[in-house]
Amino acid sequence: MTRGKHPNKDIRAAVEHALKHGWRLKPAKGHGWGVLFCPENDPACRSGKFCIKSVWSTPRRPEEHARDIRKWVDDCIHMGDAKK
């Protein structure tokens, strides 16, 4: 289960950023706080290989984990723009 909002504010903001761009969140168990997945599921998308990602409850470095989540989302948005 996602335990309500993520305890870390940077990760909370990164998850909000993903959700705002259409990503969806589902519960996870154990060390996973939740699973984010990209809505596009476009097989042509370079990131389509790994379009489902696990957000940790207690990552080793929360600010880096938040940054990696943002980069994943921004890379997809960026690639989307590049296709236009």
Partner: protein
Amino acid sequence: MSDRTFRFDLAFALADPSQDVEELLDPLFEAGCDDALIGWNGKGSLGATFSREADCAATAIRTGIRDVQTGAPGAALYLVDPDLVSASDIAFMVECSRQNVRKHLEKNAPDMPSPAHLGNPALWHLAEIGPWLIANTPLRIPRETLEVAREAMRINLDLTRQRLESLPPLPEQEESWETPRTAHG
């Protein structure tokens, strides 16, 4: 020497393509992947984006591979990134426009490293084009990124050689029925 942060992506093929990756998440975390963003596609591929502190890129990447393979036994590494990059990838990395990067690359200076792949888009080894961009343009790439790019190029080269050496022999060419020749044959 103090530790620095190295960012890199690892791609693995799972031993069992139908494996439910969510069952691997706890073993991966406990094996040390708590500094990685683990991703999957439900079709047998597993990705790990690491932001790992280490004294050098080689150590960061080597231990990252080890930790994933400890949490997901039998996972076969097939790619380390960043290695091959397009102008768009470089633009994203240096936070400027793709047009700006292409302007520099399309000058085709004689000492510019050759692409590793000609196509649309063309691809360069970041380990080669990165230092050239730093020396010849205002674009800036962090040293840690270049260290990762060099190590990624080395590992990908080893992986490619293993794949080449594992190729089965080409099948014997079958005798084919000749099509009837036309008048000019």
